[in-house]
Symmetry: C2
Subunit: 156 residues, 2 copies
């Protein structure tokens, strides 16, 4: 059970945007240089965040990506699921209805209890990430970080 | 973020054992037939459960696998982590210390706040699965299932 490597990238890019003045756009090239990550693959991930409604694309020579909403209104869950999807890690293939031990269809009207319990765990994971906004994250970063982030990403 | 397909297999095999008289052993071939799953790959997963202390191997012609402890004392988390490991899905590669925007080492004595929040979500997932025992699962399966499981798996 692994999240893509790019999960860390997009979480940090979104956190950086949350430290800037509202509506400030940052380009893929700026992000790639800021975190030393490969620009072409990062661009694809940032576009996934636009598709998910977390970022919006700003056109033009000073364009790039900006937050689509206020940092208080964007959760870590939205960012993570933008790059990894929202599918649960456990897949039920109804093996309770297969083989010599197969249950009868009338015994399987309710969801398999194991699938229910695995889904409850995934819900707990999702609730945990849905309870944390980008504003919460920025409130916990080192105190000098936002000023430097603004100087480096919004000053050029 | 995906759990292996075999997660469903081992959860069902362990749930079947929890329906039998204590210490009853079931062979890989019996499980494979019971759920219509490929025996060679299943054998590998059942050995992982032995290694994790969830099952114990019973030697001999009537041998196979039995629960290593009472169903009340085996959690879904142990079973899932026996086949998938206990590594968290999110990996922090400290990109906050890389590139042009790198934070100074003295600003990074505490764990990155994003890594902390992702770890909290994984803890919530683990706690949810650790709170469910095989006995809890058996209490929720269709009422006629245990008698048939016993007839099919312990009667041969």
């Amino acid at each position: 059970m692994k999240l893509p490597l790019s999960t860390e990238w997009v979480l940090h890019c979104a956190t950086a945007l949350a430290q800037l003045e509202p509506h400030t756009a940052v380009s893929t090239a700026q992000f790639a240089e800021h975190y030393d990550i490969p620009a072409p693959y990062l661009a694809k991930q940032l576009k996934a965040l636009v598709k998910a409604g977390v970022l919006s694309a700003a056109p033009g020579p000073r364009g790039g990506f900006r937050l689509a909403r206020a940092p208080e209104a964007i959760t870590l869950l939205e960012i993570v699921e933008a790059v990894d999807g929202s599918a649960a890690p456990y897949e039920c293939h109804e093996i309770r209805q297969r083989g010599r031990g197969a249950l009868a269809p009338e015994e399987c009207r309710r969801t398999c209890v194991l699938a229910v319990r695995m889904a409850e765990a995934h819900d707990a994971w999702r609730r945990s990430l849905a309870a944390v906004s980008l504003a919460d994250v920025v409130a916990d970063i080192p105190p000098d970080a936002p000023a430097r982030t603004r100087a480096l990403l919004a000053g050029s």
